[in-house]
């Protein structure tokens, strides 16, 4: 379909913009040209040090001669649709390296920690021949688990002092981590946090026992250990023939995101009641919601159907 100069950041950047703006042809091209890059997902509370950790981690891969793409997702405004994308502030170190491409994405109204077309952008990087792709999710709390569907290895970042031991047994992010990082370990009872995680963490579905690593990202402490753990997990997947399962997951997720995108757009449009009619098994919900909207409309003006 096309000739792309992979050394041209301008060209790569324009392609990402196209995919972000829903270019199905390009998404298709990317799917067909997936080469099998290593994909790492970094998630955790905002302010836990995700961006700093990523910039240090990326350097380790760069020094091995690998080509690295970094994607940083930040939330969009529910009111204006705009966004402030600030992940790069902590990634200044990467400007010294040629073989890394960093891109900030707005979540563009999507919840779950990523944007609708993040999987497509990842496929694009993969197809363009990047060796390693690192994704930073929206700064998150407990339920931003979309990344599980895209990355081979999930790194969940925690910090000392936040939350008691009950937080560790809850559903959501604690279930998807392959590696837990206790970052800012110099700023509180890090060992206590590690013990909490250690006691309550269970093996993952595929048998992998999560690793826990203590880091101080700003001082570059224990980043090698983190990198080794990531490599170990990736080898584990490879050895047990699990990489293809991850690819299936990624592609299914991608399809679902495309459908959700269309659906969300349709629900904002004038034919939304027809959509609800055709999708919902129990018609009574649509009926009663419309009925109440009608009453409210008559009473307060602004009659609107769903």
């Amino acid at each position: 379909m096309m000739e792309i100069n992979i050394n041209s950041k301008i060209e790569i950047a324009k392609l990402v913009t196209k995919i972000e703006n829903h270019d199905d042809d390009l998404s298709t091209w990317a799917i067909k040209n997936i080469k099998g890059a290593q994909i790492i997902g970094i998630t955790g509370v905002f302010g836990s040090g995700k961006s700093t950790l990523i910039s240090k981690l990326a350097v380790k891969f760069l020094l091995e001669g690998k080509r690295v793409a970094v994607l940083g997702v930040d939330p969009s405004s529910p009111f204006s649709g705009g966004a402030v994308l600030g992940d790069r502030i902590r990634m200044k170190d990467l400007n010294r390296y040629e073989n890394v491409y960093v891109r900030s994405l707005s979540s563009r109204g999507k919840v779950g920690g990523l944007s609708y077309f993040t999987a497509d952008v990842v496929n694009l990087f993969d197809a363009l021949g990047f060796d390693v792709i690192i994704i930073e999710t929206v700064g998150s709390g407990q339920d931003e688990i979309d990344i599980y569907n895209i990355a081979h290895t999930i790194v969940v970042i925690q910090v000392p002092t936040l939350g008691d031991e009950v937080q560790v047994i809850k559903a959501g992010q604690m279930e998807i981590g392959d590696i837990f990082v206790v970052n800012k370990a110099d700023q509180g009872p890090a060992d206590e946090k590690i013990r909490e995680i250690e006691t309550l963490i269970t093996p993952r579905e595929n048998g992998w026992i999560p690793k826990i690593i203590k880091t101080v990202a700003v001082r570059n402490q224990n980043i090698d250990e983190l990198k080794n753990a990531i490599e170990e997990h990736y080898s584990y997947l490879k050895k047990n023939n699990m990489l293809y399962e991850k690819l299936i997951l990624r592609l299914k997720y991608l399809l679902k995101q495309h459908i959700t995108f269309e659906l969300d757009n349709l629900m904002d449009s004038s034919i939304s009641s027809q959509i609800a009619e055709s999708l919902l098994k129990e018609k009574s919900i649509t009926g009663s919601v419309n009925e109440i909207l009608k009453i409210l409309g008559e009473k307060y003006g602004e009659g609107r159907n769903i």
């Binding site: 301008i10 405004s77 402030v84 400007n95």
Partner: protein, 132 residues
Amino acid sequence: MRKIRILIAKPGLDGHDRGAKVLARALMEEGFEVIYTGIHQTAEDIVRTAIEEDVDVIGLSILSGAHMYHFTRVLELMKKNGLNDVLLIGGGIVPNDDREKLRDMGVAEIFMPGTPINEISEFIRKNIKRPS
């Protein structure tokens, strides 16, 4: 509609970034996607970020008095990299004589302290060089 992407950057040693942050936030509220990169950026950093983020607009915030140097460098690198379709604007304390010179050099506009936000966002919407 396509989202307009704006890079807000602070070049050089100037560390006064309150204005840049307020502007980043305000432009977000106007519906733009704003990439904010923090203080102490070199011209190389700024242009590299503009390329990687595929922005429509670069906005430099300068209060240090070194505006002639930084704008010149950024313009040079923009030309070198073929960023002809990117709008360059600025904000900060810039004397009127220098504003004229900068406009002649290719800076689209310099906004002075006290400029209403909607004036800036209107200017951006009207003057971006790529189809929106």
